[in-house]
Amino acid sequence: MTTEENRIATRDSYGATLVELGKQYEELVVMDADLAGATKTGIFRDVFPDRHIDCGIAECNMMGIAAGLAASGKIPFASTFAMFAAGRAFEQIRNSVGYPHLNVKIGATHAGISVGEDGATHQCNEDIALMRTIPGMTVINPSDDTEARAAVKAAFLYNGPVYLRFGRLPVPVFNDPDTYEFKIGKGVVLREGKDVTLIATGLEVYETLLAAEKLKENGISAKVINIHTIKPLDKILIAEAAGETGKVVTVEEHSVIGGLGDAVCSALSELCPTPVLKIGVEDTFGESGPALELLKKYGLDSDSIYNKVKVFLEL
């Protein structure tokens, strides 16, 4: 299924794809808030120094400048950690970008608990919830390098605000770059199954695939769907899968409040009422520690997913 050795953090995919797009499109500009090394926009800065705008440690102002650039024909990618984009600058994104529906792309790196050692102040588990409440905002959470690269390109070509969520932790590349097709708002069925549908997003997609494999070994047939676009949500695909399997589990590296799980529950309550187990960060803050240890501790690794799904199906 994959090469365990080939691990790439989606923030690297982000930086690399910006360079690729920058060569082709003069109107693309990249913004950062003193984190160019970490967000990987530094890769773009090295190639296009004149089109890399470091705003310093002032994320709210950066979002406003991005709005002004977009209103003047530029296509800015405003980059910082998810915490300081969706969190600190929420209202600037809402009022200066979302309300006028300006063509601003927000590249939010270091999302979720897998930030690791920096701890709770930097682990944003609320960004999907915040961003999906903004009317007209597209919210994309890619699962690996292949998908992240495709998502950045799709976001660039789409006219309107997009929130892109990237991680710090290198994760396995399991989508085949030669055949993978990305479409905003279209979920991807990765595995067929009849007993339960596992719907995952971001780095949890790979963990969920591993869990599904283990479930199979124990006689449970799980369908797996990758939802890279949380808004607009592929409601039809989700409702059909829920109808086929009768039970649904959502898996995300994000709070169980307001993220993928709630988006899926909202869609299913309307289209196909189904019991749903939401796996994610419970109603708690994170802590410092190595990313992989934290994912295990907070119940987001494949073993934890496997165990939780088994208990859920026994109910």
Binding site: C60, N61, N95, P100
Partner: protein, 280 residues
């Protein structure tokens, strides 16, 4: 500059503001009136704009960072011909494109949606930066309130504008000295405004914001300023032109009733220059 013409136009703008706010039964007359002469000068003497081509990429831009004084901006846009004057009476009505705060998606001539204080100036900085990146000659103007200076984002934007040498940017401070909860120095003093902007690297110009000669000189000076952004600190009177509104904090966000409107319109018509008034 044709001062007589501007004075007459500013009267019309003030009357438009009051009729619109009266029709809406809500809105912000005080700060619209304090900035009325500035709005008038910008749209009738300063900016390179064409109402027939409001999306022209080469046009000068204006961002009303103190977005609650939209009635003042709508008045000059209507007088300039961006949309019919009679539509001003739909201000704040359900279904109207004249929202309580400026909405660039639906109102011709509005360059940026604003209303949440501190945000417009950042967008204006972004527009000025875009001009520099594209080697375009257009200029960008933004009007901020003196109370708005309490927002930290204003200073984030100011620091960046000077750092990037945005000499195509003019920040105008409507220094009417009043905010909702009292005078600005009572609430949380932004003074000394000129020293703060100077420390942030701006070329600072201080004027009487109701004197067209001073306004004109200030914008000329800003135009000549190179390598640094300019700020025009305009000392103004909140509610200017209506005796019972002048310097009254209570008229920040309140609409006049019918008789108050009548009196206000008469006072404005009879004031200063114009028919029967003093000559230049």
């Amino acid at each position: 500059m044709n001062e007589r013409y501007l004075r007459e136009m500013a009267k019309e703008v003030r009357k438009d503001i009051l009729r619109a706010v009266h029709s809406a039964k809500s809105g912000h007359p005080g700060g619209s009136l304090s900035a009325a002469d500035l709005f008038t000068y910008l749209y009738f003497a300063e900016m390179n704009i064409d109402p027939k081509n409001p999306a022209d990429m080469e046009r000068d831009r204006f961002v009303l960072s103190k977005g609650h004084t939209a009635p003042g901006l709508y008045a000059v846009l209507a007088e300039k011909g961006y949309f019919p004057k009679e539509d001003l009476l739909t201000l704040r009505h359900a279904g109207s494109y004249l929202q309580g705060h400026p909405d660039m998606k639906h109102t011709p001539g509005i360059d940026m949606s604003t209303g949440s204080l501190g945000q417009g100036i950042s967008a204006a900085v972004g527009m000025a930066l875009a001009a520099k990146l594209s080697q375009k000659a257009y200029r960008v103007y933004t009007l901020v309130g003196d109370g708005e200076l309490q927002e930290g984002q204003v200073w984030e934007a100011a620091m960046f504008a000077a750092h990037r040498k945005l000499d195509n940017l003019v920040v105008i401070v409507d220094n009417n000295n009043l905010q909702i909860d009292g005078t600005v120095e009572e609430v949380n003093s932004p003074y000394s405004i000129d020293e703060k902007f100077r420390a942030f690297g701006f070329h600072v110009i201080t004027i009487d914001g109701h004197d067209f000669t001073q306004i004109s000189d200030a914008f000329c000076e800003a135009r000549k300023t190179q390598n640094v952004p300019a700020v025009i600190i305009a000392r103004t009177v909140k509610g200017k032109g209506v005796s019972f509104m002048e310097n009254q904090v209570g008229w920040h966000g309140k609409a006049p009733d019918g008789s108050q409107l009548e009196q206000a319109l008469v006072e404005i018509q009879d004031s200063g220059y114009g028919k029967g008034g003093t000559s230049e």
